[in-house]
Subunit: 725 residues, 2 copies
């Protein structure tokens, strides 16, 4: 369910660009000069393998029928994927879990006053698009994990439905207590909208795609163009995933047959009020029936009406009822055992389940993973032996709640903590620029990879093209200069929205999330129109960007699996954390304008939390530069074991306040953003909420994590120095 890129020019936040820098020297980070030479040969052999035709045929098969969790074709796809991995010569199996996944039984949205109108809640088939007519197999339009409910109440328009919107409503004297709210998609992850509405006393929630963000305002609608048509609906989960993702009934443990389960009534991540998503065609009569204050200018959307806030006179009846039975998950796992260090794991994943046919989300990403696996099969036949173990995973149940990846990570948590070197995720792939987000210890590494990938349209490197985009999109002269001159392009911090979350934020495995995108656009996200016809008409129609992603991620996995020393680099991490600290200081200063007396103390606390991490990382970098000539085997394994602990050191055992599942002290999805990252989350969110005592505690906790990280890097530097030249 990778977050849908906002189809607006220069969608800065969504773009996680990779790194600029000096031309590659032939040296490979983590390799000796000797082994680098061999590696570069394997890399080149690998990159010749991925084929656009294969990608197209995989997609045709995998997206041929609706394949949501629990559907026959979901299982069928898993079996087909298993057979594919095996046909490539890989050891593979299916791992099964049983999870709570509600599917809709009753859905009603109707205007009952001042006039009447019954919402269609149905996406019509489109002539010439064969899969759009598979209505009997399609999951109806709904928001998964909405509580059952049947409510009738005045309607209130709440813009995006984020906390700031409710502050504005309060200033306008409008309360949502006892009301049904209608919110636009965008402005937050969708699950935030019913959560914040319920916090303010609303008893129901509708979410619609306004054409200003997601429809005709951007271009012609499907099938004339790629954008969302009048009756298109964005399905999606509204579970409270900022609390914890995965099966609501088995937090922290794998949802195996015999796992201990909460009763559904006690599952804290199910919404407090009923929710349904609707199309802008269905939303228009409801919004047009509102009176009360005219919506503030920024709240007005693209419908040809005056946007009023209400409450009423529009009165709405909302009814939602789901089948709350457990459904099976089928994670398909392939494994290439490591020749030298089988207990060091490089993991690569992309989900296979979709809301409906899901050609773009997730199949456009999954097919690249499959093509990478085919490539490894061929290399193995040519004698390649990866140093570490490589695990390839096609996750089930990502759309509802990162179910397949979370349950698998929870089931294998101890092993992952000991063995996990890196997790590489993708979710969708489109035409455009390489986007990367992840752990900053991998920033330099992935910049090096991107320098070796050809952009299929320009014949520049993928890295160079990303740099040019970063220069063009820079919002200040400083940013522009940095994009021109910094050795590496920055990668963005990860919030949530895909399967990397349990790896990074629950067990602390260094993570990368990769994909191409940013050119073209469309409005089929989580609708029946996300299908083979749409993708091959409007997106990466020749699959050359699919090939580029397979080459990028495949090369990264190869190098991570083969490097003698894990190619982490901590200088960028230290620098980046320093930037986050500055941001938090600035935030604090802004809040200080209102609450001055608590300043100094906190301020100093924040400062002290920042001092440490840079120096040891410089020492490590120096040792890394000097060492790496002749690496004795047991010492190298010990060094790598230390390095694997570096990301883990950033976790706290007790996790973040009120959400212990999230343990990473540097990266987390925001409690009120859902997908959007909050860096230094404990400190930042406490300051945002003006909870000063919690801010102090969190400063201590963050400082402790940074100190632990520093100490791990110091130890690694020492080990590295002993290996010396």
């Amino acid at each position: 369910m990778r977050v849908m890129a906002r189809p607006i020019a220069a969608c800065g936040l969504g773009l996680l660009l990779i790194a600029l820098a000096p031309a590659p020297t032939g040296d490979l980070r983590g390799f000796t000069a000797e082994s680098a030479k061999v590696q570069l040969e394997w890399d080149a052999k690998f990159r010749a393998i991925p084929s656009p035709d294969s990608l197209r045929e995989y997609m045709r098969r995998l997206s041929a029928r609706p394949h949501h969790v629990g559907s026959p074709y979901d299982k069928d796809n898993a079996e087909w994927l298993l057979a594919k991995f095996k046909s490539f010569g890989l050891d593979a199996h299916v791992e099964t879990f049983d999870v709570l996944f509600p599917t809709p039984k009753e859905r009603v949205v109707e205007l009952v006053a001042p006039t009447t109108f019954r919402a269609r809640l149905q996406e019509p088939p489109v002539p010439g698009d064969p899969t759009s007519s598979q209505q009997t197999e399609q999951l109806p339009t709904y928001n998964a994990y909405s509580i059952d409910g049947d409510v009738t109440a005045p309607l209130v328009y709440v813009n995006f439905g984020v906390p700031a919107d409710y502050e504005r409503l309060a200033r306008l004297g409008v309360s949502v207590k006892g009301a049904i709210v209608i919110a636009r998609y965008f402005g937050s992850w969708r699950g935030i909208k019913p959560k914040v509405a319920a916090e303010h006393g609303a008893i129901g929630c509708l979410i619609y795609a306004d054409p200003r963000e997601d429809g005709y305002a951007h271009g012609d609608v499907y099938p004339q163009g790629p954008w969302r048509p009048r009756d298109g609906v964005q399905r999606g989960s509204v579970m409270d995933m900022p609390l914890y993702p995965g099966d609501p009934l088995t937090p922290g443990v794998g949802a195996t047959k015999d796992a201990k389960r909460l009763p559904v009534s006690e599952a804290p991540t199910i919404t407090k009020i009923p929710v349904l998503p609707i199309s802008y065609g269905d939303a228009q009569p409801l919004l047009a029936a509102l009176r009360g204050p005219v919506a503030p200018a920024e709240w007005r959307g693209g419908l040809g009406i005056t946007y009023h806030i209400g409450p009423g006179p529009a009165k709405v009846h909302l009814r939602v009822k789901s089948d709350w039975s457990l459904k099976p998950l089928y994670d398909v796992i392939a494994r290439i055992p490591g020749a030298t260090a089988p207990d060091e794991w490089v993991i690569r994943g992309n989900h296979h389940d979709a809301w409906v046919n899901g050609a773009e989300d997730p199949i456009s990403g999954l097919v690249t993973l499959l093509e990478e696996a085919r490539g490894y099969g061929q290399l193995l036949k040519q004698g390649w032996k990866p140093r570490r173990t490589i695990i390839y995973a096609a996750w089930d149940g990502e759309e509802p709640a990162l179910l397949g990846s979370t349950e698998w990570v929870e089931a294998h948590a101890d092993e992952l903590a000991a063995k996990g070197v890196a997790y590489l995720n993708s979710d969708t792939n489109n035409r455009g620029y390489l986007d990367v987000g992840g752990s900053h210890s991998l920033e330099a590494f992935i910049n090096d990879v991107a320098r070796d990938i050809d952009d299929p349209e320009t014949k520049l490197s993928a890295w160079k093209r990303a740099q040019l985009r970063a220069i063009a999109d820079a919002s200040s002269a400083d940013q522009r200069q940095e994009a021109r001159q910094r050795a590496d392009l920055r990668i963005d911090a990860l919030g949530s929205g895909s399967d990397f979350t349990p790896f990074l934020q629950h067990v602390g495995v260094a993570t990368l999330n990769l994909g191409f995108g940013g050119e073209g656009g469309g409005g089929i996200y989580h609708s029946i129109y996300d299908d083979f016809k749409w993708f091959t008409t409007f997106d990466d129609t020749s699959f050359v960007y699919g090939r580029a992603l397979a080459q990028t991620v495949g090369t990264a996995v190869l190098r991570l699996a083969d490097a003698e020393v894990v190619p982490y680099q901590f200088t960028a991490f230290g620098e980046t954390v320093g930037r986050y600290v500055k941001e938090v200081e600035k935030l604090l200063q802004e809040k200080q304008d209102t609450v001055r007396e608590r300043n100094r103390q906190l301020d100093e606390g924040v400062f002290s939390a920042t001092a440490d991490p840079r120096e040891p990382s410089v020492a490590f970098a120096k040792a890394q530069a000097n060492g790496g000539a002749a690496l004795a085997k047991p010492e190298v394994q010990a060094l790598n074991a230390t390095l694997r602990q570096s990301e883990r050191a950033l976790m706290s055992a007790s996790g973040l306040p009120r959400r212990p599942w999230y343990r990473h002290q540097i990266y987390a999805p925001g409690f009120y953003t859902g997908y959007g990252v909050k860096t230094l989350p404990g400190v930042r969110e406490a300051i945002e909420q003006k909870n000063w005592s919690e801010a102090e505690q969190q400063i201590a906790a963050t400082a402790q994590a940074l100190a632990a990280h520093t100490s791990v890097i110091g130890r690694a530097a020492e080990q590295l120095e002993k290996l010396g030249p």
Copy 2:
């Protein structure tokens, strides 16, 4: 036809706020201590007179029927106004001119491909609004001074139709050569749109009000709310007034019976291509039929469609034919002769003609002028004798082209150059804040007046309320601090858009333009819905802001007419010109990025043009502060004669490049903005066009004007010093 305030929050440019400062000391600028005491009594008596009930009844009568130039009710209103002035005891007469004013005979807009649609071009009557049904008397929807034409061509959407939009089109590879363009209102004065379209080869032009700027996007439409309904149309002139306003056939001279006239075919201010305005209801099918590139994000309006640019496949047939006969103008002129200095004139004007019923534009302003005149009638009966001559003018023909004021100014140019002390204009009046624009030599004066006016809703002074607004609207901390601390609130420079233009920019009489506004809003500008019903339902419904404007302008006229020494103040003028010079320097620097080699020379030229005007103005201010005790009569008249020359010194005999009618070297409407002011226009527009040699010439001309102005002020300072205490 005062420019319609853009109904968007904080419409900075439109708001010409008046001055903040130390509490009034009892001293009155230009009066001796003795005469100030008497004056303050007359002021207070005057301000007790204006009555909301009178204003309401004047408006009811004057807006009862359509009264455009040449209509029976236009003449009827003039006769009624004449009778009114006389009933107040004033000497009054009607002054007549004969001018070219085309009225529509044929109007066709139709889509002829790929489907067909014929535009309605008609505003329907609204139930409950009696005057909206006077269809036989209403001037049809059209743009006056469009050339006749009958063209059929592909349509191209050009956004606002300003030069920057055509640069964008060029980058998109779209040409308008041979096409009919459709532009949104706003973004420039309307006459700019067909002018720029013709410059780029278009053969026809449609202008429509998009609901994003002017319709349901802002609120409920008439009659449910104040905003423009689906079929509402903005009439208006498209004459090339930045060249010269007034009768196209008699540039520079009064359009009297026997004036020498150009043939219509040689009149340079008539458009080069046919133009018609249409409603958004009529525009929607045309825009929806366009294909070609999707319009850039900022170009998209509020209609529920995808905005494409074209050209075509939409093909449009446009036909315009007018009655080009001369029409009579009736300027109603009242006069109160000066007791001491009859050859020093204070002139006050507001137009009386409208596009249709015109309750808001212009009657809401005109009724305040009439009520001021009633007040003077009463003061005269109580023994008040103004020192100078006061002239009250109700202009005809402002809407088509500032006809009545321009012809009158041209007919009396020599007299005005010798006798004009100040011209005070209004055009409409609404609820809200006092807006002032004008000559900066009157900035301090009008700030003092505003401090003595009560805001009707808050009981703060009008000045204080304007200050609070300036603080709230400040776009930077510096601006906010200035609004808090500067003695006077700044007034804005005047471009064009109302009858002040010939006074200020053609003959150089110091000018003020005043009105309240900025609260509420609406979309009836230049439509049949601008009527008594609308105004008394949605605007200054109790006419208390009408009373406040009569009190403000009336007090200003009283003081200007009675002050011993004309109350100019030149410090603010010098400071303001210094700011303009800085702006132009910055503009030059920006242009220098592209054309560096011409820098230094121009740069130095610009600097040298700025040095002079401040010092003599300080000397004058000092002398003004010291003097003013016992003022001997002939010497005072000589001083005032010198002062009257100060604004005139800023004129150049040859005028601005390519438009000699515009002579003021500091203020002019922009050649490509139409209403929007360009300060230091000769220099600024040359730099904007990168015409470096012209920029050099204009620097010399501007420097000469500023030097002349400085020399006048120096002479005035000497005269003042000789009178000394």
